[in-house]
Symmetry: C2
Subunit: 300 residues, 2 copies
Amino acid sequence: MTAIADTTTEDRYITRITGEPGLIERTDPTVWGHGDGPIDPATLASHDAKGYSIYEGLLSPGEVQAYRDELTRLATDERLKADERTVVEKASGEVRSIFEVHKISELIAELVRDPRVLDRARQVLGSEVYVHQSRVNYMPGFKGTGFYWHSDFETWHAEDGMPLPRAVSMSIALTQNYPFNGGLMVMPGSQRSFVQCAGETPADHYKASLKEQEIGVPSQADITALAEKYGIDQFTGPAGSALLFDSNIMHGSGNNITPFPRSNIFVVFNSVENTLVEPYAAPSPRPTFIASREFEPLRR
Amino acid sequence: MTAIADTTTEDRYITRITGEPGLIERTDPTVWGHGDGPIDPATLASHDAKGYSIYEGLLSPGEVQAYRDELTRLATDERLKADERTVVEKASGEVRSIFEVHKISELIAELVRDPRVLDRARQVLGSEVYVHQSRVNYMPGFKGTGFYWHSDFETWHAEDGMPLPRAVSMSIALTQNYPFNGGLMVMPGSQRSFVQCAGETPADHYKASLKEQEIGVPSQADITALAEKYGIDQFTGPAGSALLFDSNIMHGSGNNITPFPRSNIFVVFNSVENTLVEPYAAPSPRPTFIASREFEPLRR
């Protein structure tokens, strides 16, 4: 399947193909900015090489508590539980994620504009940015299920029409991330390879894919090749730590049988120079609460 | 349910109860020996406190390769695949474990008598020992499923009639144990608490329980209490590392979505002064390939 929207330039990130999928070398940069910002040069260089950077203590313990209280409030709001933006765990019926949460919670609306968050995204993307997606995630103890390996950009390109990997995600931990409670695993450097996925995207694919990914899944051969080349790093650290990671980095998470739950706030920033067009490989775009089409730059 | 076999002394480890399960303080020692052996005093003291000890490089790289080849040979032996001692993965049909493997493989028969292995077990248990159970485990990459939290002794007591926690297991890694590919998690110190489990043991329970544990599962409240008190350690290290752990330590493992498979050789040594009687909480004993009733001491 080829690009159906961007007729002026060739689509360099062709996916959801019918043949044998492969790896495409990324020609776009990882760090687009050269300007100032809160990220020091060494950390920015490391982010450029590895596709991610970690900021311990981005939130103070007091802020962590305030956001945890906010997440509890949101998860127990019965009106919100029936909202289409709320994803409920298959087995238990518990809230797993709430999307577009920066429009639901004033506290989180402030957070996405906080210089500690916003200016890091601007610095990496080298432009003004807007929120492509926001959500809060709840992973319960004992029965938390993980996410299989994937690149976010592969989905955003195919299903949302995001032209280039000029987006960055920030995951802010509200609980301690141990190596053993289902925290995010990333393959450092893998953001330089675009991994094609096989299979045509069905209509309304997002409804199933938010719970369990089936289409848009990299092949085991490609995951093995990337893991052998790049290895695996884990995002560990105390509550309040933030992980900033490239839209195309290969990542996933295991399950969580420990009693220690995990929850985080997750915000995707996209460059205002990379706004969405029609999906590159899906019959129609996903809902705007998953992939925003309001492209006004975020202002403090 | 009370002991049906040992009528001379009271059963201190009552389990598979119908009421609310609880924690019973262990009065028996963790380290029974005071004699010589390959374990140095500091490591033995740490084993006593934590209920486990790790021996990096117990096997040389050449030995690791020889045992890996042996495991491949065993897993691809079609005759063995049909043997009742072979456990096959529910979903994929692949071999997950082969029991009584020290009677199937000469190489593994030698290993259980190797002084590096046998003398450590003798030293911890303070007596001659025999093999209560042996097996090889294969956890594939991408789709390896873990084991929920449990104490081995709880099962061996209830279903096999093992009187006291005077047994020790050695798990020898034949692949690298990362923190993220489904390696064993233990709660250091938890061997001092016997965790009662609720529910009556059905007949032939072992057939289901070897694939997925349902009866003999500690309560979430007890697991949470233990995890908060003791924390969680992971068994990580290169291939050839060995973990020696107490029969009553609370342990479990997560799934493995990484491409890195895990395999190990697992041997349970029981003291010849702790031989099996009738099950304490099951209609009949499990098969001898899971719980041996040949109590002759191992000789080199």
